[in-house]
Amino acid sequence: MIQARGVGRRFASKRVIRDLDFEVRAGELLLVTGPNGSGKSTLLALMAGLLAPTEGEIEVDLPRGRIGYLAHEALVYKELTALENLELYGRLYHVAERRETTGALLERFGLWEVRHQRVGSFSRGMQQRLALCRVLLHDPELLLLDEPYSGLDASARSLVDDVLAEAAGAKTLVVASHEPEHVRPLATQALALA
C-alpha cells in the first residue's frame, strides 16, 4: 500500500529525512518513533501527499479520499462548532450517512454534549478528540496518525487504544509517536528515525 524508495526531504538547507526505504502492506501497522525534530511528522505529511519528497519517491496506492490524516493541529475551524466542522468534512468526503456517523463519533469521543460549542473554546484534549472524529468520519482505509495521544487524558487515551485495536489488521496504519509503548504491541513493523 505504501512504498518508499530512497526518500529524503529537505527544508531549505536543512535535511530532515534521508534515504528511507520501507514498504507497508495492507493491514499492517507501521510504528514510527524518534526524538523531536527527527522527521516523524514530515514523513506522515509525505505519505498524506501534503509534502513532496526532495529525494527518492513515495507511493501510496490509494486515492486521497481514502486516507485519514491526524496532524499536530486539529485541521478544524475554531469559529465553527464541533458539529459544523464535522458536517463540513462529511460533505467534502461525501460521507453517505453523514448525520448518523457524525453523531455516533461525537458520542463515542465524549463531545456530543458540546457539539454546538465553538472549537475555539475547546481544550487541547477536546480538540484532539474532535480531530480523531474528523479522521475517522469517512471510514478511511489508511490511517496516518501523528502523535494520537497528544493532549489526551487517561480516558481519552484508552479511546485511542480502542480505535487502534479495532483498526489493527482491518486497516493500514502508520502511527508516529514518541511514547510508543501503547502502540508497540499492535505494530507489525517499526521505523526509528534519528
Binding site: G49, Y69, A74, L75, Y77, Y89, R91, L92, H94
Partner: protein, 212 residues
C-alpha cells in the same frame, strides 16, 4: 452536481465564519468610506470627474486587497487548508467558494461605497455600476488565487500586494475607461474578457498553488 455541492458547502462555511468572527467585512466597509472621505478633502474643489473616478477605483482596489489579505486567515490557523486539500473534492472548488465569498464581501462594500461616492463626488451612472460589477469578478478570481499563494508564505503581507496590484492594472484601466468615455461598451467588453481569461486561469491553476 457534486462539485457545486462542495462549492456551496465551502462558500456557506466562509459566510458563516465571517458572520461569527466579523474579521473582514467591517474592516472593508470602514476602509472604503474612510478613503473616500480623505479623498473628498484632499481633492481640489475644481478637480475633474476623471480624477474623482480614478480615486474611487483606487479605494475599491485597496478595499479588495484588505479583504483578500484576510481571505485565508481561518485556513492558515490550525492548518485547515491541509484538511481541505486532503478531501476528495476537486481542489478548484476551494478557490471557487472562496472567490464567491470575496465577491460577496466586495459587493457589500461597494453597496456602501457607491452611494458615498455619489455624496462626496459625482452621481453614479449605470456604466460605473456595470464596470464595478464586472471588475469584481476579475478582482475576486485573481485575488483569491494570489491570496492562497501568499498565505503559504511568511512574507504574505508584502507578497499579496506585490503580486495583486500589477495584475489588476487592466481592471483599473477598464473601470476608469468605462466610466469616463461616452461609449463605454469597449471598456466593459475588455473587463468581461479579463474576467473570463483570469477566471479560467485561476480555476485551472489553483490545484498547483495548494499542492506542493
Amino acid at each position: 452536481m457534486t462539485y457545486f455541492a462542495d462549492v456551496a458547502a465551502l462558500a456557506r462555511k466562509d459566510i458563516l465564519l465571517e458572520l461569527r468572527s466579523r474579521d473582514t467585512l467591517p474592516a472593508m466597509l470602514l476602509f472604503v468610506v474612510s478613503a473616500l472621505v480623505v479623498f473628498h478633502f484632499s481633492l481640489p474643489s475644481d478637480a475633474s470627474a476623471t480624477a474623482s473616478t480614478g480615486l474611487l477605483w483606487i479605494a475599491l482596489l485597496f478595499t479588495a486587497l484588505l479583504g483578500l489579505g484576510r481571505a485565508f486567515t481561518a485556513e492558515r490557523e490550525q492548518r485547515v487548508l491541509d484538511g481541505l486539500v486532503l478531501a476528495p473534492c476537486d481542489r478548484s472548488a476551494i478557490w471557487l467558494a472562496k472567490s464567491l465569498g470575496v465577491l460577496a464581501f466586495l459587493g457589500v462594500a461597494e453597496a456602501l461605497a457607491l452611494p458615498a461616492y455619489a455624496l462626496f463626488f459625482e452621481p453614479v451612472g449605470w456604466e460605473l455600476v456595470a464596470a464595478v460589477l464586472l471588475a469584481n469578478l476579475g478582482l475576486a478570481a485573481v485575488g483569491t488565487l494570489l491570496a492562497a499563494m501568499a498565505a503559504a508564505s511568511r512574507a504574505r503581507e508584502l507578497l499579496l500586494p506585490l503580486l495583486f496590484l500589477p495584475l489588476v492594472i487592466p481592471v483599473v484601466v477598464g473601470g476608469v475607461g468605462a466610466t469616463v468615455v461616452d461609449n463605454p461598451g469597449r471598456y466593459l467588453g475588455f473587463l468581461a474578457l479579463y474576467d473570463l481569461i483570469f477566471a479560467i486561469l485561476s480555476w485551472a491553476s489553483f490545484e498547483y498553488v495548494v499542492a506542493e
